[in-house]
């Protein structure tokens, strides 16, 4: 069985959306389109209490079929890779559960299997997580309050690429920032198998007090679906189509 390509949007933000459409609705739409939405809320290291509006982080991820986590800057690297991996496993488990239901009937899931059988199934899920191809679109909130956190974000993204590229499956990353005056979001890194040098990535920053998380997510979703038909269907080898 091949899970094909897993598609994820990873949203890094530190506040609540305050402009445009409802990000939770957009996340639900994304999930429906086969794109998982993960959200990480980034706190200042000195910040004691959780700021208002960060509950949204959890709701967006839940609607997007993904994983959410609110973290301090210093643990961002480890969280980014953990959240991405967890979401991968979750998606694969979802696929496997569906198959199980088809074979064994309704209400069957990996969790419901007796331990011996479960032991075999989790190995299959684990193998798929190691070998499947993965596309991650990183969407970074670069509104004023995030500015001083961006160096940490850069480190975390490099670290994510390090973690995922240890797998046997292929990876594709791209990085977008928002808000952008003209197009809501701005592509700062084109699809690439590795996030290496990101020195000048966040050099041009937008300021202003608005955070259009919903519209930004929607644009990110378009950026996924409008990609050329490279292996968009499950199980299709993307390189077959180009004639190699």
């Amino acid at each position: 069985m091949k899970p094909g390509r897993l598609k994820q949007i990873l949203l890094l933000t530190d506040g609540c959306s305050n402009h445009g459409e409802d990000p939770i609705a957009v996340a639900a739409l994304a999930q429906n389109q086969g794109v998982t939405v993960n959200v990480i809320g980034v706190l200042d290291d000195q910040q004691k209490s959780q700021p208002q509006g960060l509950e949204e982080v959890e709701s967006i991820a839940e609607a997007g079929g993904g994983v959410s986590q609110i973290v301090y800057q210093k643990s961002l690297s480890q969280t980014v890779q953990m959240v991405t991996r967890q979401a991968m496993t979750q998606t694969i488990q979802g696929v496997v559960n569906k198959e199980l239901q088809e074979i064994l009937g309704k209400d069957q899931s990996i969790e419901e299997l007796p331990p011996e059988k479960r032991g075999e199934v989790v190995e299959v899920v684990d193998d798929l997580g190691e070998t499947c191809d993965l596309e991650v679109l990183v969407l970074v909130d670069t509104s004023a309050s995030m500015h001083h956190k961006l160096p940490t974000v850069k480190d975390a993204l490099y670290d994510l690429s390090l973690s995922l590229n240890a797998r046997s499956g292929k990876n594709h990353f791209s990085v977008f920032t928002f808000p952008d005056v003209n197009d809501t979001i701005k592509k700062v890194i084109e699809w690439t198998p590795e996030l290496g040098d990101m020195n000048r990535v966040f050099s041009k920053l937008s300021s202003g007090g608005y955070t259009p998380t919903g519209p930004a997510l929607k644009e990110a979703l378009y950026a996924f679906t409008e990609r050329p038909m490279r292996g968009m269907q499950d199980g299709v080898d993307p390189y077959e189509e180009t004639g190699f």
């Binding site: 496993t89 390090l162 590229n165 240890a166």
Partner: protein
């Protein structure tokens, strides 16, 4: 769907949904990344360690590893596997598994008040065990002091949840022991990934509070390795490992053995060699005196002999 956190108290009984076997909780032993470990006893009164978690897939992967690695090539590596089941409380089901209870001391408390020789001895024990694991085609992965215990001066592994087949990606790691974090290599499961973690365990014995990587991680490491009196004998050994000099656990163990054995022959305490030197000069003086007196006697003898002639 998130499961609510479970509440487990001493005296509580945990019954397996599939087997019906019961375990009575004695006390909590510790919290791990994906569950809590309790000391418990079964109906016969045998004590075990029991781990309850929420993520059933992850727990099951751990069980698979435990079954595989309780013993490798006849060598005991992880705790022995005992049982796996589900615990139903209210409307929620929590997976749990039972394993051998390894009683012992943490590496930190063990090393306290002992000599620095133990840093080398513990690392040697660890390298021997890793050698077996690597030869079986796996790496430890999340190798850290929390996953080790000293049981009657023998190092034991208490958590093999991060064990990964060679060639795959490391899924679980702790930054301080992770070579990726230190800019010293990939997160691919290779024997050298564990070897790096061994050096960090040695570093941690000298720096129990650990340290940050700073702007130049390699420099930080090299500096820290040189700055501690505890690590002095091991310094060049550590540097060589970070330069990639050791291909596998066996080679690294051989190099460390040379360090540890050498220290045994040349006493490290500075007063001892000086004392011995003095003893040596005394010895040579004595032998000089002896030869001199023999010569004098011979000369005297010859002169007396020639006088008689």
């Amino acid at each position: 769907m998130k499961k609510p956190a479970f509440k487990i108290y001493p005296g509580m009984s945990i019954r397996g949904k599939w087997s019906g076997r019961r375990y009575t909780v004695i006390r909590e032993l510790g919290k791990g990344a994906c569950g809590t470990v309790f000391l418990c006893k079964n109906n016969q009164g045998d004590t075990y360690a029991l781990k309850v978690g929420t993520d059933s897939s992850r727990m099951m992967l751990e069980v698979n590893m435990l079954k595989k690695f309780s013993k490798v090539q006849g060598v005991k590596l992880g705790p022995s596997f005992v049982d796996v089941d589900d615990w139903v409380t209210g409307t929620t089901t929590y997976p749990f598994y039972v394993m051998e209870y390894i009683q012992g001391e943490s590496l930190h408390s063990f090393i306290k008040g002992r000599s620095k020789d133990w840093i080398g001895v513990c690392a040697l024990q660890l390298l021997s065990q890793l050698d077996h694991l690597h030869k079986a085609g796996y790496v430890f992965g999340d190798l850290k002091t929390d996953n080790l215990l000293i049981h009657q001066t023998q190092l034991r592994w208490i958590d093999v949840g991060g064990v990964t087949a060679i060639g795959r990606a490391i899924k679980e790691y702790t930054e301080f022991y992770d070579r990726g974090y230190w800019n010293m290599g990939s997160r691919k499961a290779e024997p050298s990934y564990d070897l790096f973690a061994v050096t960090m365990i040695m570093m941690e014995m000298a720096y129990p509070h650990r340290f940050e990587k700073g702007s130049d991680p390699r420099k930080t490491l090299e500096h820290k390795a040189g700055a501690s009196v505890w690590l002095k004998p091991y310094r060049s050994f550590l540097l060589q490992c970070w330069q990639g000099k050791y291909k596998d656990a066996a080679e690294m163990k051989a190099a460390l053995s040379r360090v540890v054995m050498k220290r045994k022959n040349q006493k490290p305490v500075p007063t001892v060699p000086r004392a011995r030197k003095r003893a040596q000069t005394n010895d040579t003086e004595a032998s000089e005196m002896l030869t001199l007196s023999v010569l004098v006697t011979a000369f005297l003898g010859i002169s007396i002999y020639s006088f008689w002639m």
